[in-house]
Symmetry: none
Subunit: 206 residues, 4 copies
């Protein structure tokens, strides 16, 4: 029976899942509608039909709510493809990452939070531990799989190479705010493959 679905108003065995979802949704909506400054604890509570105290009971502030909302939304939006061939996976993933960051609500939440990380170092530490490390693992997956497949030399510094691939994307998204076309991400991927795959060829005599 739909026993666990019943609306309830608190009990000793934990929080209300309905309230949790309403809060996360309200925060997401407010950010999309009114921007980061328009997201307030008061507004979240009102929009979610929830008491302010209920928000404060489970989250320390609006950024904490947004982090939860982001984590919830992100894993599904950004799954690295796996075609078994780096030449296919890498450009596809870079294009997907660029799109999510620059053109989705999820990307807006990410930008708001990475911004807050600049303003508040303590939050930044928590945010990076909670979310970013996971994201960076995702970013590294294409190269790691290629190493496992033998497409790339085992000695390659996957972390550093990944930084150099995604860095320019984040730079455009966060700093220059320029659109990122498919040609840009393709060129990043192509030059990386070119450099790495032929490194031990004609580049040797340098």
């Amino acid at each position: 029976m739909a026993d666990t679905e019943r609306r309830h108003h608190g009990n000793r065995h934990g929080r209300s899942e309905a309230a949790r979802q309403a809060v996360l949704q309200a925060a997401d909506d407010l950010l999309a509608e009114k921007g980061f400054a328009g997201v307030t604890m008061e507004g979240i509570a009102a929009r979610a039909g929830v008491a302010k105290q209920t928000v404060y009971r489970w989250w320390s502030g609006k950024t904490a709510v947004l982090v939860d909302a982001l984590v919830e939304d992100l894993a599904e939006d950004l799954t690295p493809p796996d075609h078994g061939l780096l030449a296919l996976d890498l450009p596809a993933y870079l294009a997907q990452l660029a799109h999510v960051l620059s053109a989705t609500d999820t990307g807006a939440v990410f930008k708001a939070l990475i911004a807050q990380a600049q303003h508040d170092p303590a939050f930044g530490a928590g945010f990076r531990a909670r979310y970013l490390d996971e994201q960076r693992r995702r970013d590294r997956l294409p190269l790691e799989r290629a190493v496992a497949r033998g497409e790339l030399p085992a000695g390659i510094d996957v972390a550093a190479e990944t930084d150099r691939l995604v860095g320019p994307l984040y730079y455009r998204v966060l700093v220059t705010d320029e659109p990122i076309g498919r040609d840009y991400t393709d060129r990043l991927a192509h030059d990386f493959l070119d450099r790495v795959l032929h490194e031990r060829g004609p580049a040797a005599p340098r």
Copy 2:
């Protein structure tokens, strides 16, 4: 003469330079001491020994004050070197940029403002027009000079190549918050030179 230096209380012929300097200094100090959240118009005015209205008369908000403070400080902190040789200029500039961004008060102000640009798109547009375009011109100088000298082929896309060089630095500063060592910037510079200078060798048949 020292005439205009005198502390004064208003006159019909323009603003008080003393008040302006006091405000910029107060904003800088507050950011360094208490972080972005600790910078308030009220606090700036109090610390500067100035009326709130005086701040509002000349700046639209705390971010506008910080932009002025940043512009004042930045040009001098970050002048691209010119040794006449890209292999010297490029690593030096990347290292200098990394240092300013990650380890100086000027870098802290920059991070606070680029963060605010995420939160407030209107501010972002103004900030990029007012400050960032100038900064990107500085970033492109080493490559442009090399093109002018004939060190690099004339057809190279200087803007795109610069993005790929500085992107990873901003990525580390803004996103991952990892320290950037001299070896990292040197490796970026080296690989760029390697790729570009030997491009028309074995890579030709692609």
Copy 3:
């Protein structure tokens, strides 16, 4: 049997007397320690080691708890003496009343509740019906006994005369907050006796 005395956590046979006593005691203590504002349903429950719901199950609010606490304590604190002579009973009772009101915990509870009766007329009606009428009967006892003994004329308006005797005491306790010495109560009693006992002398021609 001792069965119902055992500390227990719920049973189907009526309320826990232990919980009831703990609640009344907690309310009394909190009032004495922190004043009326320091008495909260939450605080009472916590101090009594009882769930908030248990308090709400049996009392409608903190004032209801205090009323119960007061009723429990009061009858014994304030028993009119009976020496068989009004000239002895009246001054003794007035002094006793003044002392209880102005210098005991019971008096503090009374003051808190009569205050609440001003703030909340509905509570006031209940409080007066529940408690004050009983108290006024006590206050009238000395005069009533004197009438019964023939010390006072049968036609005297006992209620009105009592008001004029105790009114000034309540006035001092509630309004002026001045100490009430034995001489003050003695003088009240003396003048009353003087007036009533000799009324039908020279005052007659009025």
Copy 4:
């Protein structure tokens, strides 16, 4: 010209009289409409069309606002009459006092505040110093004038006698909540006059 009447929004030369009046009126209205519990700082500010901070700037809490409202309203509502004859002044004043206390908005404010004085001794001290002493001086005026006129013996204890006259009124208003008719106040006045004026007659041989 009506220079000082101009509406203004704060300046360095003191507070807004318009805001002050609006606050006092709002507090009065709320008390009359919704009772003491219905008076909140938030509600006062909203009803007065004033910022909460403005209320807090000038008053420490809702009781402080009510004290000001009371002081403002009271002096005019309760002016002891002066017919030049105690036998006229005293009954008139007692009836006026009874009416104001038991049947006017001013009386409701008084009751709310004297109640708060029971709950909060610190407030009580301030309230008595600020307001009650003045009120007691008013209460004593009829007797004092009679002493000055020679109607009453110079040695009479005006303060104590006043307590015994008004005490029963406050007792009825605060404690028993019974209506006070003109006959009751007349009887109080009459018996006082009777007792005091004929004291040195037939009462002597007792």
